[in-house]
Symmetry: C2
Subunit: 318 residues, 2 copies
């Protein structure tokens, strides 16, 4: 069975990929190698190719499976993907480092590390500068998939309580679990709010001015999911008007990998209550090969059983 | 029994302090209130008064106990304190927030939060900017008292392994435990090194160029104890020559509270591999009252049993 790999892969990695695919009974081919695509039944795709997936589908008459290498599938245009093609995300593949990054941002904000560092650079040494104590605080985790569960584990390790927004009811070790209907309740009562939801029709523009105003005045909001879950202008205004409110932002409304450019409509990084990072939360050593293996294992599962993990619910996106 | 309180205390707090002292059968008096000191047997002192303790001792003929409000007692001149006076530190009173601050610094450095934020401000958005994965890393904790144990708890919660330098052998949940004779071994094999030692004759200038060179090239060093445990010039040079090596520095060689001024001999804060904070790791809500209560409880223990906690070993300091 032929597997088309739509990703920039260095030559030595190509060889590894071919061998790994072979070990599960597949023949891996790469876009730039000019192979025959008429009998390709599955493909692996990384983010940049998701935007132009439609142009590939028309050339792949036998395609049955799209397996993304990214955890998010929000760049796919599901209206253009025939129903007989199964789409699987790589949810969970980046969960551990992304969660570590999210909690690191929250902790850095709670201790004012960036703003105090800058003040010290300017000669201000305020030993009485207060911080937030983490132990005993309430963490609200919006989206309790791979990333959310890892965030929960880290928050518990710090001694925080946990409440989660999840499709499925979560019973282990949480103070509260509810679906998006309970969002307000979780926003109101959390000291830390982590966004680890997929971007889909239910979550796009979920966090607006109205929701931000429901949160505690000195809450810390961290987004490591997708920017468009939060309204850009509303967040900027809220941060400017509420200097005690803080945000850790790893995902942006205009990123080079998605929109081709890096541009901010609002000067978030000039605010002292923001820490920004360049959507690099998942980039730790070996993550590429691990994510590739995770995706390939799912292709194997699909091939052997017809029941892969992380099958995307199209109705969430259309 | 009279207890002299050498600390700036607001009037409403004075009333609380008097009542708390009364509840353990003591009469609390304050320096500025002009009381008779001839029968004072115990005193509580915060950092600024430790430097001038000698001038008080000569006026307190009945003094038997000095209980500090700070965790460190390094500012006392033990050569000038008569042997019949017991000195107790407030070790542990600030342990939780200080440990949270230390681990927050380590995590922020591991994810390059400050340096990437500054790069983004300058228009550089590098989504492939790599980070360190925390899970599975080795944390070396130098000094396993109140702060060190809390650091250990947090590191375990992240999924790190732990090795500790401690006077007493530590058996619970550590990969290795040894005293200062094992320092090199711990420095060599740790990805993260936390300094939570008291400053005394054994630890002053403990970390020199020689020790830094034994550490991993990309290790992260965090000091929340006392600056003088590390050689200032050696650390600066090591950081400049090893850009992959990172340091979180909360305690400084010249601080307003100890030397009256804030001055750096070397421009640590211009280095991209440093995060600095103004020795504020312990400052969380209610910490003053909690530290005061912790110190007062120890005075009570001393009064009732003659066996208080945290009795300072003078021989460590002289």
């Amino acid at each position: 069975m032929k597997l088309l790999i739509l990703a920039k892969v260095p030559d030595d990695m190509k060889e590894v990929a071919r061998k790994m695919a072979e070990s599960i009974g597949m023949q891996a081919i790469f876009e730039e190698d000019g192979n025959d695509w008429s009998d390709v039944e599955a493909l692996l795709s990384f983010i940049p190719k998701l935007r132009t997936m439609n142009s590939y589908i028309s050339k792949l008459p036998k395609l049955k499976l799209i397996q993304t290498l990214s955890a998010g599938v929000d760049l796919l245009d599901f209206n253009q993907i025939p129903d007989n093609i199964t789409v699987c995300s790589n949810a969970g593949a980046f969960a551990l480092p992304v969660a570590e990054h999210a909690v690191s941002m929250a902790m850095a904000l709670s201790k004012n590390l960036l703003s105090n560092h800058m003040k010290m650079k300017n000669g201000v040494f305020n030993q009485r500068s207060p911080s937030i104590k983490l132990e005993g605080k309430m963490a609200g985790v919006l989206g309790y998939g791979g990333i959310g569960r890892e965030i929960g584990r880290l928050c518990r390790g710090i001694g925080m309580e946990l409440q989660v927004i999840s499709r499925k009811l979560v019973s282990e070790n949480v103070s509260f679990s509810g679906n998006l209907d309970s969002l307000d309740r979780v926003l109101q009562s959390s000291d830390f709010v982590f966004i680890s939801l997929p971007l889909n029709r239910y979550t796009k523009n979920l966090i607006t001015s109205d929701k931000l105003k429901k949160m505690k005045k000195d809450a810390i909001l961290v987004n490591v999911a997708r920017a468009a879950i939060i309204n850009e202008q509303d967040l900027y205004n809220h941060l400017r008007e509420n200097p005690e409110f803080k945000a850790g932002i790893d995902v942006w409304w205009q990123e080079p990998i998605t929109t081709g450019e890096y541009e901010m409509k609002y000067p978030f990084l000039d605010l002292p209550n923001v820490i920004g990072s360049p959507h690099n939360s998942g980039i730790v050593p070996d993550i590429d090969i691990n994510a590739f293996m995770s995706a390939l294992k799912n292709v194997e599962l699909w091939m052997k059983t017809g029941k892969p993990h992380n099958v995307v619910r199209r109705e969430d996106y259309t």
